[in-house]
Symmetry: C2
Subunit: 153 residues, 2 copies
Amino acid sequence: MTPDEMLTGKYISMLNRLGQAHLAAKMKAHDIGSGQYSFLLILYHHDGLSQEALSAKLLIDKGTTARAISKLEAAGYVRRTKNREDRRAYHVFLTDKARELQPELHQAIMEWNEKMLEVLSPEERLQLYSMLKRISDNTLKNLKECEGTHTTE
Amino acid sequence: MTPDEMLTGKYISMLNRLGQAHLAAKMKAHDIGSGQYSFLLILYHHDGLSQEALSAKLLIDKGTTARAISKLEAAGYVRRTKNREDRRAYHVFLTDKARELQPELHQAIMEWNEKMLEVLSPEERLQLYSMLKRISDNTLKNLKECEGTHTTE
């Protein structure tokens, strides 16, 4: 690995922060912190997921997840219900307010992608997407294999 | 933009979280939260930077920066001194404890880059790095131009 390639993670982290800053600016009026969008984006496709499953899906630790969900609840975007069998487990449901926000949030995300990719040719955009998908899928697969190893040990 | 390309930001965000999870696991013994590494990594090259400059360099808002620096201070990794001219401004300095951590932190970051890129050929790694650098540089340039516009308006 060349010293340059070592900086791949640095640029990923920088681009992630730039994206969060873009979203924060676009969604300023809506009282949502930058770390909270990811939860809404998952819930739009998996409404009613448990807090634990949200945490696992996003690879965000349980404490941070609990704080983010509390903030979203206080701001009126989600409500929590207790699991009938396990009273310590919560399921998270979107409110109408969150549903109404969806088009605007998707628009802001689309704008961010366009802004970020404007400097690349159509072929490069596709190349970048496909490489990021491959490394992301591979890393997730490795992670799951490791977790599998841990639990059977 | 194809629907696939719209997901570029999603993969960047996912890879960033995977990287943070990797670092958190590797650095577990050191009492540092996942959001706090970025500050140390900047300070290794710019020791004594003001809290405001750290916040601007990392594009992390002032409140989050202040909380991260407080935690790093409480854990003994940085100390703060007040600016002589502006008593509300703080400069942040690394402690010996933080300096001692540097090789281990760099090792963990190197491992993460290797893990993440293992699925790509040497040519693809270079391509990915160079595309991420271009989109990152371009987005930062646009952001600075916008800020310039705002301040002169």
